[in-house]
């Protein structure tokens, strides 16, 4: 029996007067990898960003409907957005490490949570880096600038940085889109390992990648959720014609 971690009900999102998400209702299960696929501009990244309220930063965005995480409506006016984002971490498309050392990048999250004890920090940093499968590559240069790492390493560092805050959900916005095949496969492996402990929602352009890493797949098209099901089903026997067209490469 799967438990539902994230659930949206009749969710609409507008950029100014332009509708970006139209009546999205979806239930994302816990400790599984859910992939969001669809052609660019279909609203999948927007949807992802609204799960930890990153869209709040954009003035013109208006959201209607309900988004539940663990049964709590995160758009309720009493919600503490800062704590919400600790619970729902995010990895961005472009790796964006701070211009600090590798250690400080990972320690950033714990530090803002008030952990300043050096031993404690070292421990958190080490575990996070290990969990992000990058420890072996950086353990000798923890205090070098994070900007000196390769693109793939930077992205895994960003994942480690997210893990250090100990979230329950990790949102990934095309985490491997700018990486070479080897780095991509490392990230995919990593996602596989992480799903035991975290609920992962990943946006991807790459349908093979979605097929490889995800348990569930949602297909978005022009702001609408067309189909959501087990990945296997979507890829072998989709219900909707549009999904089939997209997966077989007939458009998008």
């Amino acid at each position: 029996m799967k438990t539902i971690k994230i659930q949206t009900e009749n969710m609409y999102l507008h950029y100014g007067s332009k509708m970006a998400l139209n009546n999205i209702s979806i239930s994302i299960p816990e400790n599984k990898v859910t992939a969001l696929i669809g052609p660019s501009g279909c609203g999948k990244s927007t949807f992802l960003r609204s799960l930890n309220r990153m869209n709040d930063l954009i003035d013109s965005v208006k959201i209607e409907g309900n988004v539940f995480i663990d049964g709590i409506n995160i758009y309720d006016k009493n919600i503490d957005v800062v704590n919400l984002r600790k619970k729902v971490g995010m990895v961005f498309q472009k790796s964006n490490p701070f211009a600090k050392s590798i250690f400080e990048n990972v320690a950033y999250g714990p530090r803002i949570n008030g952990i300043n004890n050096k031993n404690e920090l070292t421990e958190i940093v080490e575990t996070s880096l290990q969990n992000a499968a990058i420890w072996d590559e950086v353990k000798d240069r923890l205090y070098d600038s994070a900007l000196g790492l390769s693109g793939g390493q930077q992205q895994r560092l960003c994942i480690a940085r997210t893990l250090a805050v100990n979230p329950e959900i990790i949102l990934m916005d095309e985490p491997a889109s700018a990486l070479d095949p080897i780095s991509t496969s490392k990230i995919e492996e990593l996602i596989h390992e992480l799903k035991d402990k975290y609920t992962i929602v990943i946006v991807t352009h790459n349908m093979q990648q979605a097929a490889r890493v995800s348990d569930y797949t949602a297909f978005f098209y022009i702001g609408e959720l067309i189909e959501f099901d087990k990945t296997k089903k979507i890829y072998t026997n989709p219900d909707k014609k549009q999904t089939e067209d997209y997966i077989t490469g007939r458009f998008g």
């Binding site: 995480i69 709590i72 995160i74 009493n78 919600i79 503490d80 600790k86 949570n113 952990i115 100990n166």
Partner: protein, 424 residues
């Protein structure tokens, strides 16, 4: 006891830093109040309004000092007479400690009269002289309220004190002379005619614009359209360096070098005149006009340029007939701000224009600008006296003028530019 302990632990818990340990469930259902964020935001928002506050304060205080000149009829004015006398004394007759004491201790009208007679400055004597018709009345008043105002002197703000009543009569006179052709503030019969100053300022502004605007605009056209990248990267910073030269240095250069050079070249009689001053101020205005024009020219969409070239127009035709017209509002703003700069420039005007308030239209005559008048005379003027108020009045005029110029450049011109470029 237990209850107290509970309350204490609750209270201390409020102030203890909440640590989120790994594995803790994070509570998201209650908005947490974060002191540091709250305070930081309040401070930042408060400080951000500083610039607006400053403008309002400038408005208020510069106008306030010039206001008494229009306020000579006001009834409660004589009250501050006594204080003004004291105040004036502090400034003009500091050398004489006895006099200083006098103002504080005595209120006898004769002595006050005497004080007026004793002041070394002719302007002051003049003021007291003019007053004679009202003098007895005011002195009478002084006797009655002398003590009060003395006690109030402790609490009263100085400005109230300087909204001088002693100068009521001369204010009355002064306001009549504002629109005359003579500026003679320090004389037996002071005249505050602003016309020569205005004329001087306009003369200088026109001369400097005639010099600076074409040079700066054409130079901007060169760097934004014709120059190759390397040349542009040399010329642009160099012209911008001109903006970094203090105006007193430009003034010095104009006074010591340029004035003689131009006199030899053109052979006019007065060495320092509006022509020299205008050119020098032009040097100060060039970087402003240049920079803003350059920005406006580069803001013209590249498609204009490409479309014109694709139609077979040559580079210069494109530059003069397509890019320049498209950027007109921006260039207009640049010239406006250049005018603002010249209009308010003080040090160059003080040093290079000859500083004689003359009415002639001849560009080779000495002139005196509004700003230079403030700069030259404010240091020697008696606080709170008519001359002082008139100088602040000039300041207010300058302020309003530059404010309006900036508002036009900001809103009207910008709106027009946007319209033009976006074609709406």
């Amino acid at each position: 006891m237990n209850k107290i302990k509970q309350i204490i632990s609750k209270l201390t818990g409020l102030f203890r830093k909440q640590k989120a340990m790994p594995g803790d469930k994070i509570d998201i259902t209650h908005k947490r109040f974060r002191w540091s964020d709250f305070i930081a935001e309040k401070i930042i928002k408060g400080v951000a309004f500083l610039s607006i506050t400053i403008i309002i304060l400038i408005f208020f205080f510069v106008f306030r000092e010039s206001f008494p000149i229009f306020n000579f009829g006001s009834k409660d004015k004589p009250k501050t007479e006594q204080l003004t006398a004291t105040k004036n004394q502090n400034n003009t007759a500091n050398q004489n400690p006895q006099q200083e004491q006098y103002g504080v201790e005595t209120t006898a009208p004769e002595k006050q009269e005497q004080y007026g007679a004793e002041t070394s400055e002719p302007a002051k004597q003049e003021q007291y002289g003019v007053e004679t018709t009202e003098a007895s009345q005011q002195e009478q008043y002084g006797v009655e309220t002398g003590k009060d105002s003395l006690m109030m002197g402790e609490n009263k703000t100085p400005n109230e004190a300087t909204e001088s009543g002693s100068t009521n009569a001369s204010n009355k006179q002064a306001i009549k002379t504002l629109i005359t052709k003579t500026w003679q503030p320090v004389s037996d019969n002071p005249r505050y005619g602003l016309l020569p100053l205005l004329l001087g300022t306009f003369k200088i502004t026109i001369i400097s614009l005639l010099f600076a605007a074409p040079l700066a605009i054409l130079a901007a056209l060169y760097t934004s359209v014709f120059a190759n990248k390397r040349l542009k990267e040399i010329i642009k910073p160099t012209i911008e360096m001109l903006a970094g030269i203090p105006s007193v240095v430009i003034g010095f250069f104009a006074l010591m070098v340029m004035a003689s050079f131009l006199q030899n070249l053109f052979g006019y009689a007065t060495r320092l005149n509006s022509f020299v001053g205008g050119i020098a101020m032009g040097l100060a205005a060039i970087p402003i006009i240049y920079t803003i024009t350059e920005d406006a020219l580069t803001a013209v969409p590249k498609t204009y340029y490409e479309a014109s070239l694709a139609l077979g127009a040559s580079k210069w035709q494109t530059a003069f007939f397509v890019i320049l017209p498209a950027a007109t509002p921006g260039i207009f703003a640049a010239v406006l701000l250049g005018i603002g700069r010249v209009f308010g420039e003080t040090m160059i005007a003080l040093m290079a224009t000859g500083n004689a308030a003359m009415m002639g239209l001849n560009p080779f005559e000495s002139v005196r600008t509004l700003a230079a008048t403030i700069g030259a005379e404010m240091a020697e003027v008696v606080f709170g006296d008519t001359h002082y108020n008139v100088l602040f009045l000039i300041g207010s005029m300058l302020f309003i003028f530059t404010f309006i110029i900036n508002a036009i450049a900001e809103f009207w011109v910008k709106g027009k530019l946007m319209k033009k470029i976006q074609g709406k």
